[in-house]
Each structure stands twice: as structure tokens, then as C-alpha cells.
């Protein structure tokens, strides 16, 4: 029987053909935890009787969610992670390395065809690399650390086809994925894999493909995977694509060439509209960064808009490059200088204010426009602030005018 990409990758690991709905136990090619999830995972690993990692080369610790530590409590959790890495021999990416997902991709810790388990809900981001990547909780991760394996139900797959060669002016992967989130809703892909195909996808860079997979988390999906057609990587790989007549639970076709810039309004990522509907809404705070949109092309898109300009008075703009590599690249090509001259505040690479742990919590009643993936109430640390989600271009344009503005 023909297979979807998820079914193929899982079959390759299970040692037999498996299809949607079946349970399987599979070896895991890589796994990671962050300063939000690692302390609990380490605790569970030890409680399970763990004395050594199943494979120390396949487990990575990243300090990114509240880094550098904002208080003594978190500082001590970071110490616990550093000590664990030393004792058990796994890699540790310390403060300033960047956001876990970007760090894994930059350092080639995940490759096409891999099964990767991350103790973070946006782990499906690596589907851009044609891998099967899932977010899990700390205890599931502890079990992977111990056994090198995980049990999974093979997911049904939703096929999303993005037609059209040319995107509208100012439209990027973020606008496309916001449209998909709108159509599928915040729970519409629960337990499913979301598989991306189509002309519009084939021409997207790795970074833009990562945006598409990143936000499958906002559809409740188990994983998101992009067809390998058009994927360019600096190394040779064995592409895994779906077979003709593979069985899908649903097929969604979107004309990407007609999509206008999109915005998700407070307080749900699936409450998506055209930016044009909200033009003129005053903003206090603009944020570009995160595993969704903190890469070089995102910063460049903002710099292109802000070059030689100044952001509006009374607006503050915070930029957190997704990783050290992104920061270095953006320094070298002048992007960072342009952004600073325009009035932006650059913070260290990491999650930054995305999850409200530190660095840039909004005030009561403030309106934030952010390039992140979630705008739940309280997400950035203050339940009395409102968060709009949009592309880096829309965020930069809005910072420039002090109000929501179409790029």
C-alpha cells in the first residue's frame, strides 16, 4: 500500500511497514531538552534508574528559554543542566547559543529521514528538513534518554498543497502558514501529521520551510513535514516523498499566489485575518525573533524596511536573533547595524520575550505585534497585554508607523 512521508519514515525505523493508526516502537535519531523541560527530564531519568544515556551523542541540552538566567532559581536549574552534561557526556549549548530548534538545525543534529524527539512543542520545525520530528514532555524524553526509543501511534496525514509560483508583494512563509492555521484551526490537526506540497513550497528556502512546519504546533499536529522537492542542503541526502495514492485524512488546497499579508489577533493563533483589516491599530511594542521568524532572512526583511528610517516615537522594538550563527551573519552583512540605527534593541540570541520568562515583558494594556507563533493570554508574561502575530515584514512596517501597517 502506498505511504505518506510520515508512514515511510516510521516504517524505515520500525523495521516493518506501518500505517496510520498502528502503534510502533521506533529508535530515535536525536533528542533534546531546554531549560524549561530538561530539569524535569533529568529528574525523571534519574528516578527511572538511569545511570547512563542510551547514546550520549544523540542527546542535547540547550539553555535558551530564560538565558542568561534572570534569577537565582533559574540560575540553579542552568547549573543542574551544565553538571548533567559534564557527568553524562552529552552536548550542552549554553546561553547565547540560540533557540533550541535553530541550534539543532545550524549544527546539523537533525537530518532528512530522521526521527527526532524534542522536549519542546515546536520540535516539528525540523520537518522542513524532511524529518519526522515531534514535541514530547519531559518524562517521555527521559524515557528516550534511557532507552533510545519511543512508542508512537502512526499519525494520519493531512495534505496541504500550496499552489502558485509567485507570492504577493510582502508575503512570506509566515503569511502562508497563518492561512493554514486559520483553515485547520487550533485543534484541526490534533494527532495528525501535516504534509506540505505544491509549487509555492518547492521554491521556498529552508528557513521559510521551517516557518511552515513550526506552526503546525498551533494546529495541534504531531508533526509537520515538507516534501523534499526543491530542498537545498549543504550535504547529500536521501529524499523521502509520499507515494502516489497514499491515503490522506484530508487534503487542503490553497492558492498561495493570491494570499495577502496575514495577522493573528489576540488571543488565539487561529484567529487570522488580512492585515489590511487592522491597519491603524496603535502598537506599543514590536518583537522579531523566535523559532518561527528569528532567522537571517527575517532580520533582513525587517532591515530592508527600516533602512535609513526611524521607528515611530513611543514604540519600542526588540529583536532576538534565533541563534549565534544568525547573529554573526546579521552582523557581518550590516543587518544588525541597520536595525540598531532604526531604533531597535538587539538582545542575545535565545527565546527572548516569547514565553514571558524574561527580557521584554509588555505592560498592562499594551499592544504587541510579534513575529512569534503564540498569542495566548499571558504568553509574553502579562495577561493584561494583547499580542498580534504577523510576519517580520509586517512587524517592521508597523514599528515604523507605530500602528499596524501592511508591508
Amino acid at each position: 500500500m502506498p505511504q505518506t512521508i510520515a508512514e515511510k519514515i516510521l516504517s524505515n525505523h520500525a523495521g516493518k511497514k506501518v500505517y496510520a493508526g498502528e502503534l510502533c516502537i521506533v529508535p530515535v535519531d536525536g533528542c533534546m531538552a531546554t531549560d524549561t523541560t530538561a530539569p524535569l527530564a533529568i529528574k525523571a531519568f534519574k528516578e527511572m534508574g538511569g545511570t547512563q544515556l542510551a547514546d550520549k551523542n544523540k542527546f542535547h541540552l540547550i539553555i535558551d528559554h530564560a538565558a542568561p538566567a534572570p534569577n537565582e532559581r533559574i540560575a540553579n536549574l542552568h547549573t543542574l543542566m551544565r553538571n548533567f552534561a559534564k557527568e553524562y557526556g552529552c552536548s550542552l549549548y549554553d546561553i547565547g547559543s540560540g533557540i533550541c530548534h535553530q541550534v539543532m538545525v545550524d549544527n546539523q543534529k537533525v537530518k532528512p529521514g530522521d526521527i527526532f524527539m524534542g522536549a519542546d512543542s515546536h520540535t516539528p520545525t525540523y520537518g522542513a528538513l524532511n524529518a519526522f520530528a515531534c514535541g514530547v514532555g519531559s518524562t517521555d524524553l527521559a524515557a528516550v534518554m534511557l532507552t533510545g526509543k519511543i512508542w508512537l501511534k502512526v499519525p494520519q496525514t493531512i495534505k496541504v498543497i500550496l499552489h502558485g509560483k509567485k507570492l504577493q508583494l510582502g508575503v512570506s512563509g509566515k503569511d502562508l502558514v497563518l492561512e493554514v492555521v486559520k483553515q485547520l484551526t487550533i485543534s484541526g490537526a490534533t494527532y495528525h501529521a501535516v504534509e506540505y506540497h505544491g509549487e509555492a513550497v518547492e521554491q521556498l528556502s529552508l528557513s521559510q520551510r521551517m516557518v511552515l512546519c513550526n506552526m503546525v504546533a498551533e494546529m495541534g499536529a504531531k508533526t509537520g513535514i515538507v516534501s523534499p522537492k526543491g530542498l537545498q542542503l549543504p550535504y547529500a541526502f536521501n529524499p523521502i516523498d509520499a507515494e502516489d495514492d497514499a491515503v490522506y485524512s484530508r487534503v487542503i488546497e490553497i492558492d498561495a499566489s493570491s494570499i495577502q499579508p496575514k495577522i493573528a489577533i489576540p488571543n488565539s493563533p487561529d484567529d487570522v485575518h488580512d492585515v489590511s483589516r487592522y491597519i491603524g491599530t496603535k502598537i506599543n511594542y514590536a518583537f522579531i525573533g523566535t523559532c518561527t521568524n528569528g532567522r537571517l532572512d527575517d532580520l533582513q526583511a525587517a532591515a530592508k524596511i527600516l533602512k535609513g528610517q526611524k521607528i515611530a516615537e513611543g514604540v519600542r522594538m526588540v529583536i532576538a536573533p534565533a541563534s549565534k550563527q544568525v547573529l554573526i551573519d546579521a552582523l557581518q552583512d550590516g543587518t544588525i547595524q541597520t536595525l540598531i540605527e532604526a531604533g531597535a534593541t538587539i538582545i542575545n540570541s535565545g527565546c527572548g520575550p516569547c514565553v514571558g520568562s524574561h527580557e521584554g515583558v509588555p505592560g498592562d494594556g499594551e499592544i504587541v505585534i510579534s513575529a512569534a507563533n503564540r498569542n495566548f493570554k499571558g504568553r509574553m508574561g502579562n495577561p493584561n497585554a494583547s499580542i498580534y502575530l504577523a510576519s517580520p515584514a509586517t512587524v517592521a512596517m508597523s514599528a515604523l508607523y507605530g500602528q499596524i501597517t501592511n508591508p
Binding site: E47, T139, K149, V355, G356
Partner: protein
């Protein structure tokens, strides 16, 4: 008899326990802040052993295991939802917070419930109704029966599917 406290659809983990409180191994501090953005009076109404009932997609959003841990630490005896976000569902079972998926429940706040976890049967004493939960895979039931994945792996050393 435990009473139920009902919340709506799409209760995300940021509302169960805000990200700013998650970076800790102090379980009691998690319980203190559970549900605070959603229902500031939670601790005034909730008695240990009570039940949380919810609509669709309970626990969506972040993979933070602190969400089910906070609920368990606050004394929630079982969560009943129409369906769950997948990571939350796995996490809850893994840390020993009982969860049941009952797609057609009409539980209201204050209803008194009798729950048979392993059979997946819930009796609503107030409404005089019985609901049955969606069947879980055997491996999940086994993990739940052991009180979580730590105990399960201590005992079995590996996963057993059948």
C-alpha cells in the same frame, strides 16, 4: 463525592500554568499558580480530590509537563475533556494525572461524579447519567495503572506494546 469544575474549549497550557512560573522543580509553587490567569478564584473553589471537566482540545500549546504536574499537585483527581491536545494527554498519563476523553459529556460545574478510571466509566450522580471514555491503547493504560512512566519503566525496563 468529588465535584466538577468546568472550563471551556482550547484551554492552553499557558493558562494552566503561565510560562513565567514553569522554570522550577518546586512542585508546590506550581500548584500555587495553577489556572491563575484563567480563573483567579480557582483555589477558593477547588477542594483536593475534585475533578476538572473541559471541552475540546484541553492542554493545547506548549509541551510543558508542568501543566499536568501543577494540576496533580493542586489535588485534581482526574481531568475529563471532550478531547485533548496530544502532548498534554501523553504528559498527564506519564506523570500519573488520570485523564479521560469523553467526547459527549455534558458535565456542569457542581455536578457530582463517580469515576472508574480503568474501566473508563463516569457516573454523573447529579444528572443521573453514565458516560464512557474513549478506549486508550494498552501501553497507556499500563502506564496509568503504574502511576506514570517512571514506575512503568522501573518495572518493565522497556516499552511493551502488546
Amino acid at each position: 463525592m468529588p465535584t466538577s469544575h468546568v472550563y471551556g474549549n482550547n484551554i492552553d497550557t499557558d493558562r494552566i500554568i503561565p510560562g513565567k512560573y514553569t522554570k522550577t522543580l518546586d512542585i508546590a509553587s506550581l500548584a500555587e499558580h495553577v489556572m491563575e490567569d484563567l480563573d483567579p478564584d480557582f483555589h477558593k473553589k477547588f477542594v483536593a480530590g475534585d475533578i476538572i471537566a473541559a471541552g475540546d482540545n484541553f492542554g493545547c500549546g506548549s509541551s510543558r509537563e508542568q501543566a499536568p504536574i501543577a494540576l496533580k499537585a493542586a489535588g485534581v483527581s482526574v481531568v475529563i475533556a471532550k478531547f485533548y491536545a496530544r502532548i498534554f494527554f501523553r504528559n498527564a498519563i506519564n506523570i500519573g494525572l488520570p485523564v479521560l476523553e469523553i467526547p459527549d459529556h455534558d458535565i456542569e460545574t457542581g455536578d457530582e461524579l463517580l469515576v472508574d478510571l480503568l474501566a473508563g466509566i463516569v457516573k454523573n450522580k447529579t444528572k443521573n447519567k453514565t458516560y464512557s471514555a474513549t478506549k486508550m491503547p494498552k501501553v497507556m493504560l499500563d502506564i496509568m495503572q503504574e502511576g506514570g512512566l517512571v514506575n512503568y519503566l522501573k518495572k518493565n525496563k522497556d516499552y511493551i506494546l502488546e
